[in-house]
C-alpha cells in the first residue's frame, strides 16, 4: 500500500461495502417477517462477490502498475514468456485478494456475528469457481486494454457489475425473466450463489449442481487465455505493443 495508494482505495471500498450490507441486513433481520437470516444470505453473497471482483481487479491493478510506470517495454522486451507474465499478475492479484478477504471476514464476524465458515467445506469449490472466473475477467480485460490502448481502462472497472444482475448474488435466479435466466445459466457465478443459498438454507451441498459452474469457469478461462494470446500476437504484428509501451 505504501507503494501504491490505489490499492489502499480498493481495500477501503471493500470495508465500506461490508459495513453497508451488514447494516442493511441487520435492519432486515429486525423486521423478522420471513424467518430468513438476511445477514447470512446477503453478507455471504457480498463477501463471495467481492472476492471475485478483487481477483479481477488485483490482476488488472498489477498490470496497470506496469502501464502507469511506463515499464511495459522493459517487461515485454525481456525473456519472460507470456504465460509467466500472466502467472506473475495472478500471484500479485492473489496477495491483494487475501488482504481483502481477511478484512471482509473480520468485519463480518466482528460487527455482524457472521462467519462465512458456516458454509463449511463447500466454500472451497465456491472460492475455486470464483477465483477462476475472476482470473478470466482479469485476463480478458487486459487483452482488451492491449488491443485498444490504456484509454480502454474504463471497460475494466465496471465489467463485473454488468454480470451482477445475472449472477443471483442476493436472489434466486428463478426470479429473473426467462432471457435473463438464460444468461445467468452461462455464468459460473450463478451456480456459486445458488449453491451458497442452498447450503445456508438446508446445509446440503450438491457438487453436481455446481459442476456446470466449474466447467464453465474452466472453459471461459481457456477462452480468455486464447483471446489474450491472439491479441498479443496481433499487437506485436501491428506495432501496437511498441507504441503502447512508449505511450503508456
Amino acid at each position: 500500500m505504501r507503494r501504491n495508494p490505489a490499492r489502499l482505495a480498493g481495500f477501503l471500498w471493500v470495508v465500506l461495502d461490508i459495513f453497508l450490507w451488514g447494516f442493511i441486513t441487520k435492519f432486515l433481520n429486525t423486521l423478522g417477517v420471513s424467518g430468513l437470516d438476511f445477514i447470512a444470505l446477503f453478507l455471504g453473497g457480498i463477501i463471495l462477490w467481492n472476492f471475485m471482483i478483487r481477483v479481477q481487479q488485483g490482476i488488472m491493478t498489477a498490470f496497470f502498475e506496469d502501464v502507469w510506470s511506463r515499464n511495459f517495454l522493459n517487461i515485454f522486451a525481456s525473456p519472460i514468456a507470456i504465460g509467466e507474465y500472466l502467472a506473475g499478475l495472478v500471484v500479485a492479484g492473489v496477495v491483494m485478494v487475501l488482504v481483502s478477504l481477511i478484512l471482509m471476514l473480520s468485519i463480518a464476524v466482528g460487527f455482524f456475528g457472521f462467519s462465512l465458515f458456516r458454509i463449511g467445506m463447500p466454500l472451497i469449490p465456491f472460492f475455486l469457481v470464483l477465483f477462476l472466473f475472476g482470473m478470466t475477467l482479469g485476463i480478458f480485460v487486459i487483452a482488451l486494454i492491449l488491443r485498444w490502448g490504456p484509454s480502454a481502462e474504463w471497460i475494466g472497472w465496471p465489467l463485473p457489475f454488468l454480470l451482477y444482475p445475472f449472477s443471483g448474488v442476493f436472489y434466486p435466479v428463478s426470479v429473473l425473466p426467462l432471457p435473463a435466466r438464460l444468461i445467468s445459466r452461462l455464468l459460473p457465478t450463478s451456480y456459486v450463489f445458488e449453491g451458497m443459498r442452498e447450503v445456508l438454507a438446508s446445509g446440503v451441498f450438491s457438487f453436481s449442481a455446481l459442476a456446470p459452474g466449474l466447467a464453465l469457469a474452466c472453459l471461459f478461462l481457456g477462452l480468455a487465455y486464447i483471446f489474450f494470446n491472439r491479441t498479443y500476437r496481433m499487437i506485436v504484428r501491428t506495432g501496437m505493443l511498441a507504441r503502447f509501451g512508449a505511450e503508456g
Binding site: E65, N74, S78, P79, I80, V236, A242
Partner: protein, 252 residues
C-alpha cells in the same frame, strides 16, 4: 549455409516493416561486433525506433530476420532476448520501487545467477550504492539514467540497445554515461547499438554509424571520416543534409 562470425553479436538481415498504409523500414541489414559501438542515426520518422523494436521482439518484421549472438529472435525469442538488454527514454522503471528492488527484479526476469550479488556489483559499478533504498521516482534524470543503464547491464548482454540514452541529461552526466559504455565495450564483452540526435556525442562514442532515411540505410561508415566523404564539415551537417535532401546523397 551462412556461417556467422563468432564475434558478431547482432546480425540484422533484410529487415522490412510494412504497415497497412506505409513502409516504415525496408531491407535494412547490418551487424554489430563485440567491442563495437554502432550509431543508428536518422531524422525523426526514419525508422530507428521501429528497427530497435524489431530487434527487441516487440514488433514483428514483415520480412527479414534478427540474430542475437547467432540466435533468431523470432524463432527462439526467450533465448535471444536473454542475451540482449536495452535502455530508452520511453521505457521507465517502476517509480514506486527502490533502486535495489528494480535491479533485483530485472536480474530475476533475465535469469541472472546469484541475483543479489549481481545487484551489489551493479550498485558499485554505477555508483548507485547511496540510492539503493530510494524509490526510483525520487531520483534526478541523471541518476535515473544510471539506474536504467545498470538495469540494461544486469544480464551482461551481448548486445546492448541504447535509444537516446543521454537525452535530457546535463553534459557532465551524459559524459559519465558515455564513458561507462565505452569502458564496457572496450572489454569486448558485447556490442552496442546507440541512437542519438547529438552528433558530437556520436562522433565521440561510436566506432561506426549507419544513417537511416525513409526506412533505408543511406550511408554507413566511420563517423570521423564519413562527413568529408560527402563534402560536409562534420557529422551534424551530414545529418541535416540527410534530413532535408536525402535524394542528393542517394544520387552520389
Amino acid at each position: 549455409m551462412y556461417v556467422m562470425n563468432t564475434q558478431t553479436v547482432l546480425e540484422v538481415r533484410g529487415l522490412t516493416k510494412n504497415y497497412e498504409d506505409a513502409r516504415a523500414v525496408e531491407g535494412v541489414g547490418f551487424s554489430v561486433q563485440a567491442g563495437e559501438v554502432v550509431g543508428l542515426l536518422g531524422p525523426n520518422g526514419a525508422g530507428k525506433t521501429t528497427t530497435i523494436s524489431m530487434i527487441l521482439g516487440v514488433l514483428e518484421p514483415t520480412a527479414g530476420s534478427v540474430l542475437i549472438d547467432g540466435i533468431n529472435v523470432q524463432s527462439d525469442r526467450q533465448e535471444a532476448l536473454g542475451r540482449t538488454n536495452f535502455s530508452a527514454v520511453y521505457a521507465q522503471l517502476p517509480w514506486n520501487l527502490t533502486v535495489y528492488e528494480n535491479l533485483y527484479i530485472f536480474c530475476l526476469l533475465y535469469g541472472v545467477q546469484n541475483a543479489r550479488e549481481r545487484v551489489r556489483e551493479l550498485l558499485r559499478e554505477f555508483e548507485l550504492g547511496k540510492f539503493a533504498d530510494i524509490n526510483c521516482g525520487r531520483l534526478s534524470s541523471g541518476e535515473q539514467t544510471r539506474v536504467h543503464l545498470a538495469k540494461a547491464m544486469s544480464n551482461k548482454p551481448r548486445i546492448l540497445l541504447l535509444d537516446e540514452p543521454t537525452a535530457s541529461l546535463d553534459p557532465s552526466a551524459a559524459r559519465i554515461i558515455r564513458e561507462k559504455v565505452r569502458a564496457w565495450t572496450a572489454t569486448g564483452a558485447g556490442g552496442v547499438l546507440w541512437t542519438s540526435h547529438n552528433m558530437h556525442e556520436v562522433e565521440t562514442v561510436c566506432d561506426r554509424v549507419l544513417f537511416l532515411s525513409r526506412g533505408k540505410i543511406l550511408l554507413e561508415g566511420d563517423p570521423k571520416t564519413l562527413p568529408r566523404t560527402y563534402g560536409k564539415e562534420n557529422l551534424e551537417e551530414l545529418f541535416i543534409t540527410i534530413a532535408r535532401e536525402p535524394l542528393s546523397l542517394e544520387l552520389e
